[in-house]
Amino acid sequence: MSTLYDFALRMGDNTLILGHRVSEWCGHAPVLEEDIALANTALDLIGQTQLWLGLAAEEEGTGKTADDIAFLRDAWDFRNALLCELPNGDFGRTLMRQYLFDQWHLLMLQELQKSSEKRVSDIADKAIKEVSYHVERSRDTVVGLGDGTAESHKRMQDALDYLYPYVGELFTPDAVDDAATKEGIAPDLASLREAYDAAVAATMAEATLALPESRFGHKGGRNGKMHTEHLGHILTQMQWLQRAYPGATW
């Protein structure tokens, strides 16, 4: 398969799996405004998934749709970063995960707006408008809860300690990424790290949270070699209908 296919699949699987995770909050958030905000964020991410997986399907050229790619693959075929599939935990951990992803997503989309592939830059131009709102909110919430009560501070620090080892994967290129960079489709992932670190450090300082010193990074999601055990559980819910009633349509 082409580099563009692999690239679009990784982008689409990130937004699909994180979007599904965030949607799990629907009807359960602590207050109505947050419930609505989470549902809207999930909706944006699923909308972006339709664009990315639609592009992957087009590139594959066998008549598949974005839905086929989303619902008719098993865990080992998914190419999302591990960060996206981690369980929601409490509200604070969900928003910490969102911030760590959103900050990367924003920087990535900024670079993708310059992609040599017009279909990629078109999606980036569209998605970045939505993601700008996501990062504004997740950042505000991380600061509010980090620099909040003793209890919220502790929970946010726990969330950061738990999630930070999954950040490194977003910046670790492999052969697929190298090919995408060479073809001008996508930036060198490692080149995004400096701006990311500066933004995250500023946010955590404001949130009175301490960034873990270790740069150890779990890997295996973006190449599908070693997903966490959580991904399969997400798929049993997300793909239930197509598994129980293959080919069912609305």
Binding site: E34, L43, K118, K129, E136
Partner: protein, 152 residues
């Protein structure tokens, strides 16, 4: 005889947005192009938010309206780029929103005043609202919450 492009636009101006029926599809600025390709009418539509559930309803409404006016051969095209921006909301659309109680978008990033009592003493409750295109604000004078059509 084929109806003129201007006539088609006039028909589309009567099709309400499914989520905010006070404005039309042309007010919203999502009809990017109308043209005849031989005997087929091509209407190009741009989505507002990529996950907006109204998008498929909008396409259905366009098709229903135009077929009702006797258009038999119709193609709907999706155009992603340039992405939709609230700058494309018409002046009429903005006025209709305000009258309906939804503060229209402003580049400054927030409402000019409360759509009910005109007070400028406002606070933002959330960047997100009842549809992807809106945020929730509250007027600190009349104490009523209201929707703000956010700028993108």
């Amino acid at each position: 005889m084929k109806p003129s492009v201007a006539q088609v636009y006039a028909w589309l101006d009567d099709v309400p947005d499914p989520e905010i029926p006070v404005i039309s599809l042309t007010d919203l600025g999502i009809i990017r192009h109308v043209e005849w390709a031989g005997d087929t009418l091509e209407v190009t539509v741009t989505p507002t938010y990529s996950g907006c559930p109204a998008t498929s309803i909008i396409n259905l409404d366009i098709e229903t309206a135009l077929r009702g006016h006797g258009i038999e051969k119709l193609t709907l095209k999706r155009q992603l780029s340039p992405p939709w921006t609230t700058d494309w909301l018409t002046e009429t659309g903005r006025a209709k929103l305000e009258k309906y109680g939804i503060a229209p978008p402003r580049p400054a990033g927030g409402p000019a005043h409360c759509p009910r009592c005109q007070s400028t003493d406002l606070e933002r409750l959330s960047q997100f609202g009842s549809t992807p295109c809106k945020a929730q604000w509250r007027c600190k004078s009349c104490l009523e919450p209201f929707d703000y059509f956010k700028c993108i």
